[in-house]
Amino acid sequence: MRIAVCLKQAPDCSSVYVDPVSGEVDRERFVQTLNAADACALEAALRLKEQRGGSLFALTLGPDESDEVLRVALAMGADTVERLWHPSAVDWGPLTIAAALAARLHADSSSLPDLIFCGEQSSDWASGTVGPALAAYLGLPQITGVIGLEALPDPSGQLLLRVTRRLERGYRERLLTRPPLLLTVHETLNEPRYPSLPAHLAALQATIAVCDPLSLPQFAPDVEAEEATIIEVRIPRPRPHRLAIPDSQLSPFERIGEIVSGGTSRRQTRLLEGPPEELAHELVRFLKERGFV
């Protein structure tokens, strides 16, 4: 089985500093890492490879520094890695990036990988676009927002996957599927492994193959059509914190009471006493009256 995983280097969000006056993002301070969801995608791909055998190809599009994420992939267990880059790519949006990745995956003499993993979204722009767009360009079915993945034993010997997708408010969708397929992985899917020290050192020595996406036959970016220009970056205004200010009309005792209660407004309380059965009746009646059951 051939698996490919698409990775991206992204700044750790806690290292992001925006100058409050100029609105400039201080890129010098960025701590670049393998994007969290992508690390989970890589881990998921590795686990499948270990279970079922096969090869894992890790692909990224990014400048020289992005070699780092491929070294992480090698250290964790990827078999081959490659970086796509062209200086003009700094301005590419997610659709163009997906088209470049698709062109690279198409360029292999053999057919497409059986499975392609992507992170659901990156920590910087969080567009969540590359995965579905890549699936569209490759003509593959997709499952996004994967939070559960399990390879099932199948009598035919083919890979059968049970996939859980996250939906809103804790709802989940369960699906059964077979390759070929593209999956985008949510960052809660798994706990990515730490590579061993020897693997890490070996990865530091590895030479990383680089490919110019503009040289790929299937890639003709229409950058003009898609791209967004950045007009302005600014920091969010801090949310106003609601302070509980006690009513000055009240007596000092009551004011202290209000402060102590955290500013939650006092209500007309119906206080009931009695045996638990009776109180339970009252509770159910109250819930019904107010339409909660």
Binding site: P132, E168, E232, F286
Partner: protein
């Protein structure tokens, strides 16, 4: 440069016709709050209002045929904002969400009507079909906007960067083809209701299509096993309508009963810090100053004394019930209903009553 712009006379999306269309694609899914659709409608209406008489607000609904008539099912849902037009696209494959179904149906409708702009909520499913549709049709796409506006030849969008540490305003050039936008859910909140939906509000013009769709990329091996609702211990507290919370007075064993009661009520489980510190429940369940702030319609506090650090997290709760044997517990000052007694016993009896009723009916 501001996101609020004055109307332009001949914007590129006009295409020479009299009225261009701004679509809001409605989403339906178990667990999806209706506000997510309503806030997109409200936002889109404001954008359309920048071009009076030129840009028409339309809603798009995808569904299986023979569902209940739209006048009954969909139209009452337009509470505060009623679109001028409602496109209903019916196909047997649209009974539940599939990527292929949505992409194929919307591609068809886009070719049919060529709107200027398509907006939908950036839910998990919205973020599933929208980028794919954009890639497939070669449309400009802006994901997870907090606000957006149309200029003469461009789409302005406000987006969050780096997990909300910065905002960015972008301009995307519009060509002759429609642009696609997803709107970050929960950004705007529910628009206020203007009166009862049934009276006074205009009806949208309803146009129903039943196209035959070709599903080129259908995956024959993709089998839907089902949708699962979260359990009481999993419902996100911030989003929960009802919360049953427990404190020291419930005890470790009592939390199982409390969770069972919450499940019966369709509520989420919450806790005081004592309960989370002792490992009776997950730390994410803690409510209060160092936990979560919640805004449920119903909050039932069991065995919680009502320390300020706890109650500061329930300021927005609408109805509060407290169960505690100590009549001097500060929590009673905030409660609409106070029950003096043992929380576990009362919950156990109440559970019995609720179960009997649901069986009896």
């Amino acid at each position: 440069m501001s996101l609020i712009n004055n109307a332009a006379d001949d914007a590129v999306f006009m295409r020479g016709e009299s009225v261009a269309e701004l679509w809001v694609v409605l989403q339906e899914q178990e667990g999806l709050p209706p506000e997510y659709n309503q806030e997109v409608l409200a936002e889109a209406k404001e954008v359309a209002a920048q071009y009076p008489g030129q840009l028409q607000l339309c809603a798009v609904q995808l569904r299986a045929p023979l569902s209940s008539p739209v006048e009954k099912s969909t139209v009452p849902f337009f509470k505060a904002v009623v679109p001028e037009r409602l496109y209903v696209l019916e196909h047997p494959a649209l009974g539940r969400y599939t990527t292929e179904g949505y992409v194929a149906a919307l591609s068809w409708l886009i070719r049919e009507r060529t709107p200027a702009l398509i907006v939908t909520s950036a839910t998990v499913n919205g973020q599933d079909w929208a980028p794919r549709l954009a890639a497939q049709l070669g449309l400009p796409f802006v994901a997870r906007c907090l606000r957006f506006a149309l200029e003469q030849e461009a789409l302005l969008a406000l987006r969050a960067l780096y997990g909300g540490r910065a905002y960015v305003q972008t301009r995307t050039r519009l060509g002759r083809q429609p642009a696609l936008v997803t709107f970050a859910p929960g950004t705007r909140g529910t628009p206020p209701m203007t009166g009862s939906p049934a009276v006074g509000l205009p009806m949208p013009e309803v146009i129903t299509y039943q196209p035959s769709l070709a599903f080129e990329e259908r995956n024959p091996s993709l089998q839907h096993l089902g949708i699962e609702a979260p359990s009481a211990e999993e419902v996100e507290l911030e989003a929960a309508e009802k919360i049953v919370a427990g404190g020291r007075g419930v005890g470790r064993e009592g939390f199982a009963e409390l969770a069972a009661f919450a499940r019966l009520l369709g509520a989420a489980v919450g806790a005081s810090r004592v309960a989370t510190d002792r490992g009776w429940v997950e730390p994410e369940r803690q409510i209060g100053a160092t936990g979560k702030s919640v805004s449920p319609r119903l909050y039932i506090a069991c065995g919680i004394s009502g320390a300020a650090q706890h109650t500061s997290g329930i300021r927005e709760a609408q109805t509060v019930v407290a169960i505690n044997p100590d009549r001097n517990a500060p929590i009673f000052a905030l409660a609409d209903l106070g029950l003096l007694g043992d929380a576990r016993e009362i919950l156990r009896h109440a559970m019995q009553l609720l179960q009997e009723e649901s069986v009896g009916v």
